[in-house]
């Protein structure tokens, strides 16, 4: 399926009947999911439920064996590579914070800005006022203004998580995929992160994968529970957490 005249769906992200297996292990099994523009969705599920693999498929790191993955109703993501997908406007925060440790906080954000990413563009790059203003704004949002000249590798774990969220903001994508943003954070940091994501959601579509139930509850958004690579339940956190099958595979036992 290539670019079509009309949008196949109004959804920002549309997954239908997606299958992936690694050496016979079915990581993703007939997964179907839609995300509307402007929505924030929390994805929960036990270890090995396929949450990260799903993000790998959306960002082009893994190619599905079959199924449809549409972005913005028109673009078939299964045909594109990571760079192209990032250019289209899908940003990703990894489970383990991945920042450029040997560069400063400020440079990390500079690298993330969605400006000309060509070889020539970066070789002859001259900083502009608009760019540095955007960086200042992001630094303020993620509370790292004081640390702007520090090496990213010297930040605390929670600060690295924020820096990576900040890099997403600088990238300014249409869709943000956020993998376990509060892993290893204190309660205060977790609360602040929830506030931050809610703020981001005002202007962006967001998909959050998280284990922390208090955090998911605080986000107060629609929840999808994955299990063995397929959707087990969908609804509010209360609906999902009272679902018997969810309790069976995930919360209880």
């Amino acid at each position: 399926m290539n670019v079509m005249d009309t949008r196949a769906t109004s959804a920002m992200l549309y997954l239908d009947g997606v299958h992936v297996s690694f050496d016979g292990f079915h990581a993703i099994n007939n997964l179907s999911l839609t995300l509307e523009p402007g929505e924030m969705r929390a994805i929960i599920g036990p270890n090995g439920a396929g949450k990260t693999t799903m993000m790998d498929i959306i960002t082009g790191k893994t190619k599905p064996d079959e199924g449809t993955v549409l972005f913005d109703g028109v673009t078939d993501l299964t045909r594109l590579d990571e760079t192209r997908i990032a250019e289209l406007g899908i940003g990703r925060k990894f489970q383990k914070p991945t920042v450029f440790e040997s560069q400063t906080v400020q440079d990390n954000l500079l690298l993330a800005l969605n400006v000309d990413h060509s070889v020539r563009g970066t070789l002859f790059w001259r900083g502009s006022k608009a760019e540095s203003e955007r960086i200042d704004k992001v630094l303020e949002t993620i509370r790292l203004t004081e640390a702007r000249n520090r090496l990213a590798g010297s930040l605390s774990h929670g600060q690295k998580q924020w820096l990576e969220i900040g890099m997403l903001l600088a990238q300014d994508p249409k869709l943000l995929l956020v993998d376990e943003p509060v892993a290893g954070m204190t309660d205060v940091e977790t609360h602040l992160t929830a506030e931050l994501l809610k703020e981001i959601n005002k202007t962006h579509t967001v998909m959050v994968v998280e284990h922390d139930m208090t955090f998911v509850r605080e986000l107060g958004v629609k929840v999808t529970c994955l299990h063995e690579g397929t959707v087990l339940a969908e609804g509010t956190i209360d609906q999902v957490s009272s679902n018997e099958r969810v309790i069976e595979v995930y919360l209880g036992r």
Partner: protein
């Protein structure tokens, strides 16, 4: 703060480096030419040629540091680009011999007459003109690096696999250039040069000028590398080195960046080879030997990768040691010493000479600044003793 210090210290070492190279490039040829032979300060001609060789190695080391130190591409075949640049220059020098060869053929180099070749192969056309040869010094290594890199980086060959195929590349070229019918003099290579641009290559004046030119090339190469690594592109290169897939997810076409630096680096290595050949007077297939490329990587590791200055320093230091040790009773053990040096540097001095020095300098500077801030606070009349931050 630390990164500012880092850039400042880089600028400091860069300034010292440029001053030293420029000073050597001017003073050594002058001392060689103007002072009477045998005087205390006169640099003998054999040393000018030897140091000229080191300067060419320093350019090669710089080109390796650009890709390895900043972009994480460990090429174990960079000697191939060096040798190709050398061959391009060697072909020009061969064509300059003219009728002064053993067989006196005005067009064909001696080895072709010896092989009973009737006419010049097409790929030797144009090498009688210096500008063409000079162009080929850049184009041939650059083109090979571009094609090789295009295939390798697009297929996402990285790490040790890339190192192995670069090694295979230089070995394949070694075997090809050994063949007589390949048309580059086979085993003997190209030698017995007479003139370069009308000047006798053996003459003291020419040697001094070649030395000065090599220093100039080192300075230009250094400035180009500095411009690249201190641009935003340099930040992208470091990002690729440290977290390649993260860089991809930010929307950078990593393979284009790698291809760019790899090609620039190969062109630089080619220039180094082209300056090397007239100074040593010979180019033969042994320059393609995989061991040479590995040795060049060791220079960079010893000097400190990702510092540029360190790469050049490492090349000079290790080659000086090589000259020193291989001329004495220790000669048979040089390769063992080189291997031991590499292991020791990896274990004890992972940042290399310059990297370690920079880290030490920054640390002691930080201590000094905090010490002054404490004493300043005391002078301001702060009664409570405060911990320095």
């Amino acid at each position: 703060m630390t990164p500012h210090m880092l850039t400042r210290s880089l600028d400091r070492s860069a300034a010292i480096f440029l001053a030293v190279v420029a000073g050597c490039g001017i003073l050594i040829p002058l001392s060689n030419l103007l002072l009477p032979a045998g005087s205390f300060l006169q640099v003998p001609t054999y040393l000018v040629a030897l140091w000229g060789k080191y300067v060419c190695y320093a350019i090669l080391a710089l080109s390796i540091d650009l890709i390895w130190g900043y972009c994480g591409i460990l090429s174990l075949g960079h000697g191939a680009f060096f040798a190709l640049g050398g061959y391009a220059m060697g072909m020009y020098l061969m064509r300059q011999i003219g009728t002064r060869g053993v067989y006196g053929n005005p067009i064909l180099p001696d080895f072709m007459v010896f092989l009973n070749w009737e006419k010049l192969p097409w790929y030797w056309y144009g090498f009688d003109m210096f500008w063409f040869a000079a162009l080929m010094v850049l184009v041939v290594p650059g083109l090979l690096a571009f094609c090789f890199g295009w295939l390798a980086f697009r297929s996402r060959v990285t790490g040790v696999y890339l190192s192995i195929i670069t090694q295979a590349m230089t070995y394949a070229l070694l075997l090809a250039f050994f063949r007589n019918d390949f048309g580059f003099g086979g085993n003997n290579g190209l030698t017995d040069f007479k003139d370069i641009l009308g000047f006798n290559v053996q003459a003291e004046g020419t040697r001094a000028a070649l030395f000065a030119l090599s220093c100039l090339a080192l300075i230009i190469g250094f400035l180009i590398c500095r411009a690249i690594v201190s641009s935003k592109l340099g930040k992208v290169l470091i990002a690729v080195r440290d977290a390649e897939s993260r860089t991809r997810f930010l929307g950078y076409r990593v393979e284009s960046y790698k291809l760019f630096v790899f090609t620039v680096s190969a062109c630089m290595a080619g220039v180094a080879g082209a300056l090397y050949v007239p100074q040593v007077g010979i180019i033969n297939p042994s320059e393609f030997a995989p061991g040479n490329s590995i040795e060049a990587v060791i220079w960079v590791a010893v000097g400190g990768r990702g510092t540029l200055v360190g790469a050049a320093l490492g090349a000079v230091v290790v080659n000086y040691a090589k000259t020193f040790f291989t001329s004495g009773v220790l000669a048979p053990y040089w390769l063992f010493m080189l291997g031991a040096l590499f292991i020791l540097v990896t274990l004890l001095l992972p940042k290399g000479i310059v990297g370690t020095f920079n880290a030490w300098w920054d640390q002691s500077k930080e201590k000094r600044t905090s010490a002054t801030s404490v004493s300043a606070a005391a002078e301001d009349g702060v009664t409570e003793p405060k911990m320095a931050e």
